[in-house]
Structures are given as C-alpha cells and as structure tokens.
C-alpha cells in the first residue's frame, strides 16, 4: 500500500513535469516564429563579397532634425554598381538598428542599382521602403539626402540619381518628397548643408 502523502507528491511532480513541458514547447515555437519573421524582414539581397572598408555614411537624426557623418565598416565589392548598392544599404542598415535615429519600415532596402551612363544612376528600392516610410516633408527629405550624399561621397562620378520603388516610378516617397525628378547630386550637396 503506497502512503497517501507519497501519492500526492508523485502527482504534483508529474503535473509539474507536464506544465514545464508545455511551457518549453510554447517557448520553442515562439522563438522559431520570431526567427522566421526576422528572416522574412531581412534584406532581400544576400550579402556580397569584397574587402572590408571604412566609409562615411550620412545619418539622419530625427530628434535633432540633423544629418551627421558616421564611420562604418562594410564589405564593398570592386564593381562600381555593387559598390553603390552596398553603400546605400549601409545607410539603410543604420536606420534598421534599434533604437534607430531615423526609423524606417522593416524590409526597406535597395533592390538594385542601374547606371544609365557613367554619371546617371537609377536606384530601385523595395516597396516597404516607400510604403512604410513615415510621412512628412522633413522626414522624407532627410532619407533621400542621406542616401544621395553617402553615395556620392563613396562612389565618385555620379551626378544624377533617380529613385524607383519596386521597379516603378512613384510621384513621392510618402506624399511629399519628389521621386519623379532626377536629383542632381550637386544640388543635394547644398541641401545637405542646411541639415548640418
């Protein structure tokens, strides 16, 4: 005959094991879901090779309404187009950090860049870059200025840039900043001074 107190203890132990098992399974599932979610929101293009370089990127700081240069280490390929693309992505990477000085939507990335000639470049962005961009004149102009200035500082010789969203022209970034025009980098350089 098993004593009654022993039966109760065993029952409690079994119950504790069962509850712990359920909790562990739920935590595991949650982590898997988060990992999958993070993978889906990750940049669309895989990381490229190249040698690690220290470059300067112009970062927008919403709180100060300012743009400031920041050094970053990135792998930059020798190819000019790939170099331009990775340079732009290094700016967006700053905005994807947490906390972010200038939050952009998850999935905001550069799909591709094309040179129309040696001086004119088309930048094709992902849909979340524009669809999820916060609306506001200043916020939108700070994004474009930081991208264009960083690009011209690290990939010389580009004089005109135009932005596409998911391969198509769009009137504005999020209701304000012009995306129809070609941006002349010299004019943007003057604009950037206003944010210093």
């Amino acid at each position: 005959m098993i004593p009654r107190h022993f039966q109760i203890t065993m029952a409690l132990v079994l119950l504790a094991i069962l509850v712990s098992g359920v909790v562990i399974i739920r935590i595991t599932h949650k982590e898997e879901a988060m990992t999958q979610q993070a993978a889906e929101a990750a940049p669309v293009a895989p990381a490229v090779g190249g040698k690690q370089e220290s470059i300067r990127v112009l970062v927008a700081y919403d709180d100060d309404q300012a743009l400031r240069w920041r050094p970053v280490e990135v792998f930059l390929p020798a190819d000019r187009g790939l170099r331009a693309k990775e340079t732009l992505r290094s700016v967006l990477a700053q905005y994807q950090q947490s906390p972010s000085p200038h939050p952009l939507a998850k999935g905001a990335d550069i799909k591709d860049v094309y040179f129309l000639n040696s001086e004119t470049m088309i930048v094709d962005t992902t849909a979340p870059f524009a669809d999820g961009h916060p609306s506001g004149i200043l916020l939108e102009e700070m994004t474009l200025t930081s991208l264009i200035e960083t690009l011209t500082a690290n990939v010389p010789g580009i004089t005109k840039i135009k932005f596409l969203v998911d391969g198509k022209e769009r009137e504005t970034l999020a209701g304000h900043a012009d995306l129809m025009s070609f941006y002349q980098t010299a004019a943007v350089h003057e604009l950037a001074k206003e944010f210093e």
């Binding site: 709180d63 609306s135 506001g136 102009e141 209701g175 012009d178 070609f182």
Partner: protein, 480 residues
C-alpha cells in the same frame, strides 16, 4: 388538393397586383452589372414579396435553363447547376470543384412561382443563387436593387475647381456610356434644372463611398450621390444652370456654369504684364492659392488616434483664407472639402488660375514650431525653352521670389514667438508651380500632438503667414 392553395393564392396575388399597379408608380427595377453585360429586369411583387425571374436573371450570364421532372427546373452555369421546383422554397445546388461534387440545399425565402414561362424566385434569394452558381464575388446593394458581379464597379473622384468659372470634374475609373436626354430608361440620363443637375447611371456600375460633398456657396455648392431603383445618380446643386462636357474617352464629365463669367474673357491687365514664364494673367486680381495638402483617401501623416494631416491642413487653410481676406487679399482654396486631388492637378489649378502666390500647408513630425520650405529644383539644369517650361522645373522663373516669400513669412512667424526654420527642398508640387510658391509645415509643439489642432496656434500661424504675404504682395504682382 395539396397545390390548390398556393395556386389560388397566386391567382389572387396576380389579380391584386394587376389591379393595384398603375402607371403612375415607376416600375421597380433590378440592375445587374457584370463583365459580360449590364441589364435591368422588372421586380414584380407577389403577396407583398419582391420577386425576380430567375431565367431572365441568369440567361444573360451564360446560364441554360431546362425543364426537369414534373415541376422541376434545372439551371446550368459552367460546372454548377441549380434545381428548383414550382411551389418549393428550397433549391438544390450542385457544383463540381475539381474532382469533388458538392451538393447543397439553399433556402430561397419563399416559394418558386411560374408565370408565362417565367420562373419567379424571391428577390432576396438572388444573391445566394448568383453566388453559388457563378462562384465569384457578388455584391448586392439590396435597397437600391443593384447587383455587381465580379467586382465590376466604376468608382469616381470628384474634383471641385474654384475660379472664375468654377467646375466640378468627375473622373471615372471606367468609360461611361453616353448619357442621353431621351433614353433615360435604356442607358442613363442627364436632367438639368435652374439650380440642379442630375446624372442618372442605369447601365454603368457607378458606386461611391462618399454620399455628399459640399463646395461652398458659389455656382457649384454640393454634390450628392444616391442609388435607387436599379440605378445610381449624381445630383449637383448650385445657383445656376450647369452644362455637361464629356471627355472623348468617356471617363471624365465636367460640369460648369453655362455662360462663362465676363472675368474669364478679360484681356490681360496692363499693370500685370506677364513674364515669359508666367504667361498671360486670366484676371487682374491678385489672389493667394491655398493648398490644404492631402485629402480624401490620402490622409497624409498620421499622429495617432484620429488626427491625420489632411484634416489639420484643411482647418489651417480655412483659417489662412480668413486671415488673408481680413487683410484685403483674395484667397482661394484648392480643396475646401475632404476630397482626393492629385499633386499634378493641384499644380495645374494654381497655374491655370494664375495665382499670385501658392501656399501649400502641411503638418508633420519631427521637431517643433513651423518649417517654411522654398522650392529647390532637383535638377536645375532643366531650363525653359522660350515660353515653354519643363513641367519638373516650371518653378524656375519664380525661384528667387519664392525664397523672398518664404523668408518674409518665416520672419513674421518668428515675430509671433514661434521656432521657425527655412529650408529649400524639392517638395512636390512646388517645382511644378509657375508663380512664387512655398510650403509651410506645422510641427507638434514640444512633442504635443494636440497642439497641431489647437485653434489658437493655428490662428497664430495663419495670421503670421497672412501678414508676411500682405507685406510683399506688391512685389508679387498685387496691389501693395
């Protein structure tokens, strides 16, 4: 014996209906809109219940109808069939879905009636029958008796254009059938009265999310959209008779006063000799075109809760108009209602009406105070060729005057104790505007979102902008 009661009831109902029905009452209609066809059907009443002829409803959609056993009818569309029987209030619908055959009994809400070869089913069952047989999205606007099959909607955007000759531009997503004054029942109609113009759309699947828009107290005052008896209508009310202009592609209808006001035909004022960039002035009056940014489906920036940029800018625009008029300066609003207007159209309105100054109003994060933007050409190398200006740099001839306006307005805002920054930026549509143009962006004061809607703060900003414009209107072509 079992069927005698319904037959008797049917005969009585038919007699009663034929006696009660008079030509004075418009016949009840149901209209069906689909990719294949748009058609209207009569909706007879039997025993107080609205009925529809199932064969007339389904045949134009490709259905074949055959007699089955006894009083049974079989309706076949593609891989689906429905079996209905006279006197029964249930139908059996069978649908082949890949290798599966699904069978389902549906309630028709009333007995099936057969009259002169027409199989009448309760109107309420039309949605079920169509949805089950066609296996596509069916939308039934029941009060107005309009059925839309497969998302076959024609939506429209109403754009009110203020000016010497105000107009209401209705832009539809699909070409419309030609409206006619003689064939109202067949296609659609246009009715004009002294102060009311009604467009009736019977065969066009016109729908709208907005039922009423107000435009002020001028020649065009309001627009009402309604659906009734198998058709839709747009009624425009004003203080004069309107004429309708239909575009070649059938997608745009413009309503405007029949006789243009004299001002529209005036010669350019000698004192306001136009520059090559600006072209001739339509009127000698100097006025400020105020553009409350965003509107309609474009909400602009969201500030949490129900605060959105489009509402803040409209209130500020009305306040600015009031402040300008108190200083003796005419002002017009690009939009005075919650309506969609594209950025390019905003620029066209300002350019066509020869505004003296264009002021776009915005509200947005981050920071505090007010930001005043002057235009900046993204690509200054685009130059004017004679009298023609590239659209993307139409502002090129007025850049320096725009900066003057921005600086003067900013100075007035500072005098009111506000934190102000002036920036030159390629904000759309400033670069497409021919006259001097600025944008003013109101930021939350100290992070307080509520401050964006504060009447006191809006009044302060509006008064400062108006004071700035009053100071420099002499330089901008207006009377000092």
């Amino acid at each position: 014996m079992r069927w005698s009661k319904p037959r008797f009831a049917l005969a009585f109902a038919a007699l009663w209906c034929s006696m009660a029905y008079t030509g004075a009452t418009p016949e009840k209609q149901l209209t069906v809109y689909s990719a294949q066809a748009s058609y209207s059907l009569p909706v007879p009443e039997r025993s107080g219940k609205a009925y529809i002829a199932a064969n007339e409803l389904l045949t134009p959609l490709g259905a074949t109808i055959t007699h089955g056993k006894g009083k049974e009818w079989k309706i076949t569309v593609n891989k689906a069939e429905a079996r209905l029987a006279e006197g029964k209030d249930k139908a059996v619908i069978r649908r082949q879905d890949k290798a599966l055959i699904r069978s389902q009994q549906v309630d028709l809400g009333g007995a099936v009636l057969v009259e002169d070869g027409r199989m009448l089913v309760p109107l309420d069952s039309a949605l079920t029958l169509l949805g089950q047989l066609l296996n596509t999205a069916v939308d039934f606007h029941q009060p107005s008796r309009r059925i839309f099959i497969g998302q076959s909607f024609t939506r429209f955007n109403a754009e009110y254009k203020n000016g010497d000759r105000p107009s209401l531009i209705l832009t539809f997503t699909q070409p419309l059938r030609r409206l006619d004054t003689n064939h109202a029942e067949e296609r659609g109609a246009l009715f004009t009265h002294t102060n009311k113009t009604t467009l009736i759309f019977r065969k066009d699947p016109v729908v709208s999310d907005v039922n009423k828009q107000e435009f002020g107290a001028g020649a065009i005052q309001s627009m009402v959209f309604a659906e009734e008896n198998g058709s839709a209508s747009i009624t425009v009310t004003g203080n004069t008779k309107l004429q309708m202009i239909r575009s070649e592609d059938g997608k745009t209808i413009t309503l405007q006063p029949e006789a243009p006001p004299l001002a529209a035909a005036q010669e350019p004022d000698a004192q306001n000799t136009p520059t090559a960039a600006e072209g001739p002035r339509r009127t000698s009056e100097f006025f400020v075109m105020i553009d409350a940014s965003h509107g309609g489906s474009d909400k602009g920036a969201s500030f949490g809760g129900r605060q959105v940029e489009k509402d803040i800018t409209l209130r500020l625009a009305r306040e600015l108009r009031k402040e300008l008029e108190e200083r003796g300066i005419s002002a017009r609003l690009v939009r005075d209602a919650d309506i969609d207007i594209g950025l390019e159209r905003r620029a066209e309105i300002a350019n066509e009406q020869r505004a003296g100054i264009y002021v776009a109003l915005h509200a947005g994060r981050p920071g505090k105070g007010v930001r005043v933007y002057a235009p900046m050409l993204a690509d200054p190398s685009q130059a004017a060729a004679g009298r023609f200006l590239p659209w993307e740099s139409a502002q090129s001839g007025a850049l320096s005057r725009s900066r003057t306006v921005a600086q003067t307005v900013a100075e007035e805002l500072r005098k009111k104790g506000m934190a102000v920054s002036i920036l030159g930026m390629p904000v759309r549509p400033l670069n497409n505007i021919v006259p001097p143009a600025i944008a003013v962006e109101l930021a939350p004061e100290g992070g307080d979102i509520q401050s964006l809607e504060s009447p006191k703060r809006q009044n302060t900003v509006a008064a400062a902008i108006a004071s700035g414009i009053a100071q420099i209107r002499g330089q901008m072509g207006g009377r000092p």
